[in-house]
Amino acid sequence: MAQMKNKIKVLRAEKNMTQEDLAKEVGVTRQTIIAIEKNKYIPSLELAFKLSGFFGKKIEEIFILN
């Protein structure tokens, strides 16, 4: 099965944000952000677009399909 990796943790650190702050910005719980950062949960397309919009980057720049 294909593995999905992401740069959410790095991008969040660049913005000096907590997981809680990011969760509030994109309308999810902190647990979801934790799971995404650990590559344990693949977000929906909607959430991926929200994240890409928030960080001002393309989806493929944030999420990498191995």
Partner: protein, 132 residues
């Protein structure tokens, strides 16, 4: 209200209901328990409305979906096997409790499968998988 405050309110409501229900059991007053449960539900609904934080998101829904799927498939298979065993081991004497229990289990299995089929049909229509 924050999610943390809501969790505290939820625990307090559960404690309130637990205490009132135990009091109603000891005093054999059913209406007291019933009113406590209704009041608890109303307070819970009102508290839920005041929560501004996100309580349920897509990951929570995914977890709930997977848990429900496993719970459904496991319980249906277990109940179906139990009903088969109970019915076929008591075919000689159909007036036994076990035989009747087997029949009840088989109807529960049929009912849950019917609900599943209906829900499956509904969502298939909703997402248009029948259309070309």
């Amino acid at each position: 209200m924050s999610l943390k405050a809501f969790k505290i309110v939820r625990i307090l409501i559960a404690m309130f209901i637990g205490v009132i229900v135990s009091v109603s059991v000891t005093t054999a007053n059913m209406y007291l328990a019933l009113s406590a449960i209704i009041i608890g539900i109303i307070i819970m609904i009102l508290a839920k409305r005041r929560v501004k934080d996100v309580m349920v998101d897509e990951m929570m829904k995914t977890i709930a979906y997977k848990a429900a799927s496993i719970a459904y498939s496991t319980s249906v298979v277990v109940l179906a096997l139990l009903s088969l065993i109970l019915v076929f081991t008591n075919l000689d004497d159909q007036n036994t409790f076990n035989y009747r229990l087997g029949i009840v289990f088989s109807y529960i299995v049929l009912f849950s499968m019917a609900v599943y089929s209906f829900a499956h049909y509904f969502y298939r229509k909703k997402y248009g998988t029948d259309e070309e």
